[in-house]
Assembly symmetry: C2
Homo-oligomer: 133 residues x 2
């Protein structure tokens, strides 16, 4: 059912190339929230005989982030990019042992009087990561 992915990509302003449709189906096909790495995506595609080079997986995931289809989670593992299919505001537990992320609803964290960000700077994101072990 690739129609859905093609529409999704079109709506996001991205050309519906074959690799992008495959990755979109993998990530959004069942509507579930996912935290994925580029490596995991490549493995899944491999297992489905849809080989896409790791570099292209990265390019695609970055394009998805730029298009707002995906969100990058900062602060989990250093040096590893983790992408979140849930683009609505929320936060995360990060289990250092299992390296797994778990969602925390945005309402569970309240931010009070923030010191003003340096002049001329505007807030572009807010990551709360509670690390557990």
């Amino acid at each position: 059912m690739n129609h859905d992915q093609i529409k999704l990509l079109g709506a996001a302003g991205l050309r519906a190339t074959q690799p992008r449709v495959s990755i979109a189906r993998l990530l959004f096909g069942d509507g579930k929230d996912r935290h994925v790495t580029a490596e995991w995506v490549a493995e899944q595609l491999d297992a489905a005989d849809e080989n896409i080079v790791l570099a292209s997986v990265y390019n695609t995931l970055n394009a998805f982030v730029a298009a707002g289809l995906l969100r990058e989670v900062h602060g989990a593992e250093r040096g590893v990019a983790i992408f979140d299919t849930n683009t609505t505001p929320h936060h995360h537990f990060y289990n250092e042992k299992t390296k797994k992320l778990t969602d925390i609803p945005a309402e569970a964290v309240k931010v009070l009087k923030l010191p003003a960000a340096p002049k001329g700077a505007k807030t572009v994101g807010c990551d709360v990561i509670i690390r557990v072990r």
Copy 2:
């Protein structure tokens, strides 16, 4: 006045080797809060004619973290380790343009009813990063 650093290291259970004393003096000598990278530390030492190889700087900084003298800030730049001389609980602004961290007092962020961390897991840290640009 290296006496202070030697005492500091001893109290933390670390042998007072020359490189460690140098780095401790650089980081804690004036009691100011600092956010540093391994590269910055190496440069400063270089400039003071106290050459310490980058790998040793990393080893030392990691040792300091393990000993509780230093804290690693997660979630700023991916792939770059940033160490914070302020080990008390607090949070950060991260300016994506200047790549600079700014402190946010812990009291400015209130965490409500957290969903319980996965069974058997205990919280080991909490990083709040507000990214600005």
